[in-house]
């Protein structure tokens, strides 16, 4: 009898706590549903329509068929993939290297480096893009001035106007604006690695490299997973730099899916077609993120 009373009381307590938890979540849930879930479904729904400023007619999978047949979309897709494939590993590896180099430094020195690398993150994208644009300028830019000064180039290079260099310029800028947060996260994660494990390994004769890969790397795997996913999403959604620096040119060599969505939806008012591309992009990001979860989870420690 007494046991039954205790069970009932604990159930009531659990229910009360659960109810409180849901009540605390409710405001966030309200905004999440209103600004994320509902627009996502609207996006999916309207992607099956020829939705323009003056038309809203059902076209089934017509937008998706057109999308895969569209040469500019295909170019934009492969440009986006290139950005992701280059940016994500380089950002992660560089951030890990910087993080592991500075996390044991004096607090002041460490903060200095964190500030330096985080500065592009907190600086407005427009300001960053304008400064880079000045540096890439064909006639008065810093890069051409230096390279022609040391005799590395005979004539000035139009860095953002050349098909061969423009996408790499975008990746470089994206790299500098993406490393700040991962570095800060890695510094924090490395500082939190259990020192007793590190010391035990060192006592057992492990080298620095062995200690890093056998002890520290598995310990910071959750951070790595977060860095990978966030960097992947940011790289897939590269838009502002393209809009501000190249408008997708030259000859569509810097078109990304995000920029092409903007162009179709906001310049040509083809919202349905833009939404179809948005759904495709979301699916690709979800697949990439799931793969990263699967791969990195297998190598992490609890």
């Amino acid at each position: 009898m007494r046991k039954k009373n205790v069970t009932t009381r604990s159930k009531v307590l659990v229910m009360r706590e659960t109810r409180s938890a849901y009540l605390f979540l409710l405001p966030s849930l309200f905004f999440f549903v209103g600004f994320v879930i509902i627009p996502m479904f609207m996006c999916l729904f309207t992607s099956f329509f020829n939705y323009t400023m003056s038309d809203f007619s059902f076209v089934g999978i017509g937008n998706y068929v057109e999308m895969f047949q569209d040469e500019i979309f295909q170019r934009a897709f492969w440009n986006t993939v290139l950005i992701v494939v280059v940016a994500v590993p380089t950002v992660t590896i560089f951030s890990l290297w910087v993080g592991s180099s500075i996390y044991r430094m004096h607090a002041v020195t460490r903060s200095f480096f964190r500030c330096v690398f985080y500065l592009p993150v907190v600086t407005g994208t427009v300001a960053v893009a304008v400064v880079w644009k000045w540096m890439f300028n064909k006639y008065t830019g810093l890069f051409n001035t230096i390279l022609s000064g040391v005799g590395a180039i005979d004539q000035n290079v139009s860095w953002l106007g050349d098909e061969k260099t423009a996408i790499w310029c975008i990746i470089l800028i994206l790299f500098t604006t993406s490393i700040g947060q991962p570095i800060v996260l890695y510094v924090a994660a490395l500082g939190n690695v259990d020192t007793s494990l590190v010391e035990a390994a060192e006592v057992d004769g492990a080298t620095d490299i062995q200690t890093f890969w056998k002890i520290k790397w598995p310990s910071i795997m959750p951070t790595t997973l977060y860095v990978l996913v966030i960097t992947t999403i940011n790289s897939f959604q590269c838009f502002a730099l393209i809009q501000l620096l190249t408008s997708g040119g030259p000859k569509h060599s810097t078109d990304t899916i995000m920029y092409y969505i903007y162009y179709e939806a906001f310049k040509l008012n083809r919202y349905g077609f833009g939404n179809a591309m948005g759904i495709f992009l979301a699916a690709v990001i979800a697949i990439f993120s799931a793969l990263q979860f699967k791969v990195t989870k297998s190598g992490s420690v609890d």
Partner: protein
Amino acid sequence: MTAAIEAGTTPDIIMEGPERLVSNWGAKGKMIDLADLWDDEALADISATSEAVVAACKSESGAYYEYPLCMTTHTMAINKELFEEADAMQYINDDRTWTTENFEKALQALKDHGVETTGVVYCGGQGGDQGTRALAMNLYNAEFTNADHTEWTMNSEAGVKGLQQLVDWCDAGLLSYDSGAVASDEIQLFANETIAMSFCWNAANQLTYAAETAFTPYPVAFPSESGTPELCGGIWGFGIFDNGDADKIAASKIFIEFICDDATQGPISISNTGFFPVRSSYGNIYAGTEDEERMETYASFQKWLGDYYNVTLGWAEQRTAWWNMLQQIFDGEDVQAAADAYVETCNTATADASAN
């Protein structure tokens, strides 16, 4: 505005050009017909300045979706002192026109004088594309569209010849191109004397860059084979979004009439834009002001205002296709083939827009 239109949160009044008010939003039923503002007096007064302005504000269905306030012609500009030093001013006529042949001679004179980069054909985006369009079009007096504004025609013999000429000048080092620059970048290069001329200039630009230039920006027409240029224009005026509130629409019309037509406010409104009145009855609104001399110079270009082809349907697609086509030809692609592909893209866009 696109987001506002879809969200139903548009303003009552908007100031824009006919390419959006008439050919885009008006054609899609988003705007109010302003025919009652276009009474006989207004029609006669604005027609006396330019029939092209009236035509631009009127839709194919006959509705007036724009009530115009001001206009300008887009020109190019040269660094006068540099041209004088290079003895290149001789190639420009007193009325600020020049022929294609003389333009080439001027480029050569600048080059011989040691000017590294004479001018830049910018094609990194659509910003200021009226300059590159006017340049390519005028060199051999091509037409940008047909008279009905239903087809794009820069793949004509004259159009291709003009485009080819630009490529040839770039290959010969007489001109330069930059697929990474837009008009604002080019103007900045002109203002800091890196280049000797700008292809994107007008009265407002001269005022904006006055403090930054240590030389005399000398506005000139675009060079043409015949010597008679056809300049691109800008027309700005008001439209009213159809927000379904008759009272607001009526009040908006009263406001627009006051801003544009009031004998005192009208000229003030126009002088604030830095451009010229569409109403001939206003005369020289800059007379007796410190801007008189500068504006008189720019007013002299008004007589070469060309066809306002910006109202051709598919305008937005055309703008993107234009600078992409320029990038292709400067990158070595066959000019005729690139121009044909550009025209095909534009005509498809125009046909699609007409069908909708």
